[in-house]
């Protein structure tokens, strides 16, 4: 593939080694882990081995891991599954830099009589601890926030937020979707109650995820049925998917030093190159950010047209522009950080994966200035200000 792929946050390929490990489970070891005859044994053992790998990645106990169909389901299970056990608490707090899956899950709760509040962030997208302290109270059931914002990459104060939740008797849920491949986390040390993990974001297969549920946290299932996953997630186990997620987690753990360090260097070069374009700025925290994330805004022009120009040049990225969203809404994360709508519209999200090369970065730095000036020449606001 000659394409330059800088959209890791949207999708990642499955690692070859991961796919290799999955393959026998589609055809040869196709048994159902619940079967008591011989064909159930190997799948059953493989599922438990995977559970161990996933647990290791976040320093949890295997019994604290439940496999799901993906990050979105894990988020729904976490945030909704604990509510029946916290009946008198009617407030759900999420951050204003959460992914839409968290926002939509929280929003839907309002029709069930819950109040949803949003933790504000500062101008680099970091959750305001002072505000969190004021907001999290004995009415609060769950506090959810990302370990790092998926869009602007700003790393959040997870430990502090989790302990604020604890002090108020609320449960914390941390979305690790975007950070797990790049940043180690020890859920015990952070005092996290629940954490969402996504297989595809670990370079494992799509259609699998996991939820960490700390021992002792009471939770009910979202999907009812045959009682698999200790009755927390019914439905015949997606064995090849779970095997793939396990392998991906294991490899991510092994490469936790090497890959992020390499991406960080390339990412810094990219930020340097792009922000040297006139009136182009980094969004998010320059220091405390995901190693693979560069979110840059280019004044006076709009993101979808930049994205398409890059696409026509063989470069894949994402944008916070409304025009690229189904909802036609500008990025809530960028707006929460205090950016103007037109600034949010002009932002591009570059996210690296471990296979990106220097050449990829140089190619972007080479073509971007031309794209920016071409679109600025077409932009009435750019020409007004001239």
């Amino acid at each position: 593939m000659d394409r330059v792929y800088l959209d890791a946050a949207t999708s990642l390929p499955v690692r070859r080694e991961v796919l290799e490990e999955m393959l026998p489970f589609f055809t040869e070891h196709f048994g159902n882990p619940s079967s008591i005859h011989e064909l159930g044994r190997i799948p059953r053992e493989a599922v438990e081995r995977s559970r161990g790998h996933v647990a290791s990645l976040i320093s949890a106990d295997p019994s604290e891991i439940v496999f799901t169909s993906g990050a979105t389901e894990s988020i729904n299970l976490a945030m909704r599954g604990v509510l029946p056990f916290l009946k008198e608490r009617r407030k759900v707090i999420i951050s204003s830099v959460d992914h839409m899956s968290v926002r939509a899950t929280a929003s839907a709760l309002t029709s069930g009589g819950y109040v949803v509040e949003y933790l504000p962030v500062d101008d680099v997208g970091r959750i305001d601890i002072g505000a969190a302290e004021r907001m999290i109270d004995e009415e609060t059931a769950v506090v959810s926030f990302p370990f790092a914002s998926s869009e602007v990459g700003t790393v959040q104060p997870a430990g502090e937020l989790a302990s604020l939740a604890h002090s108020a008797g609320a449960l914390s849920h941390v979305d690790l979707t975007m950070s797990a491949l790049q940043m180690p986390v020890d859920v015990g040390e952070c005092g996290i109650d629940m954490a969402t993990l996504s297989s595809p974001d670990l370079m494992g297969p799509k259609g699998v995820g996991a939820l960490f549920i700390r021992k002792g946290v009471k939770i009910t299932s979202l999907i009812k049925g045959g009682g698999q996953e200790r009755n927390l997630r019914s439905g015949s186990e997606n064995v090849p998917g779970i095997v793939g997620m396990g392998a991906a987690a294991r490899i991510a753990g092994e490469r936790m030093e090497e890959d992020p360090a390499r991406m960080r260097v390339l990412r810094d070069r990219l930020i340097e190159g792009l922000t040297s374009i006139p009136e182009s700025y980094l969004n998010g925290d320059p220091e405390n950010r995901l190693p693979n994330n560069a979110n840059v805004r280019f004044s006076y022009i709009e993101g979808e047209s930049m994205l398409l120009m890059l696409d026509l040049n063989g470069i894949s990225v994402s944008t916070g522009s409304a025009c690229a969203q189904k909802t036609l809404e500008a990025s809530k994360t960028l707006l929460a950080m205090g950016l103007k709508h037109e600034e949010a519209h002009g932002s591009l999200i570059f996210t690296l994966n471990p296979t990106n090369t220097e050449h990829d970065i140089e190619k972007v730095i080479e073509v971007m200035p031309g794209i920016v000036s071409e679109l600025r020449a077409m932009s009435p606001i750019y020409n007004m200000k001239e």
């Binding site: 939509a104 929003s107 839907a108 709760l109 029709s111 069930g112 009589g113 006076y300 022009i301 709009e302 979808e304 047209s305 398409l308 026509l312 522009s321 409304a322 025009c323 690229a324 189904k326 909802t327 036609l328 809404e329 500008a330 103007k340 709508h341 037109e342 519209h345 020449a377 077409m378 932009s379 009435p380 606001i381 750019y382 020409n383």
Partner: protein, 153 residues
Amino acid sequence: MERLEYSKTVLEHFRNPRNVGELEDADAVGTVGNPVCGDMMELSIRVEDNRITDIKFRTFGCASAIATTSMLTEMVKGKTLEEAEKLSWDDVVGGLEGLPPVKVHCSLLAVDGLKKALYEYYKSRGIIREDLNIKGESEHEEEEAVKESGPLV
């Protein structure tokens, strides 16, 4: 998720937009939209013998907005004022071989820009055509809210 597939014609106009810029000797300029909403457009026209003899545009917005305005300028050049006024967004979208549904509002903006330019042109001649006086951007389609008729059991 809506599928965002642009036709070949849209991409061609986006890559090579016709009539970009500003007419130095414009008879009227129409500006519509708002960068806050993600789309803004400026259209300048020259009118001779009741015909639009030249037209140029600048657009802040997505590929669709750029391509639509480019297509519109091509379609309008040489038309009489009456013909230009009757140009509908159906015509422009047709010329582009369709647009993704979610992008239709961008084509409305281009047509609005033309109307606004015509309004300004008539106004400069002492004629007030309020029906052509576009105020803001055509509204974004309302976000299709997650409709819940009650909590899930």
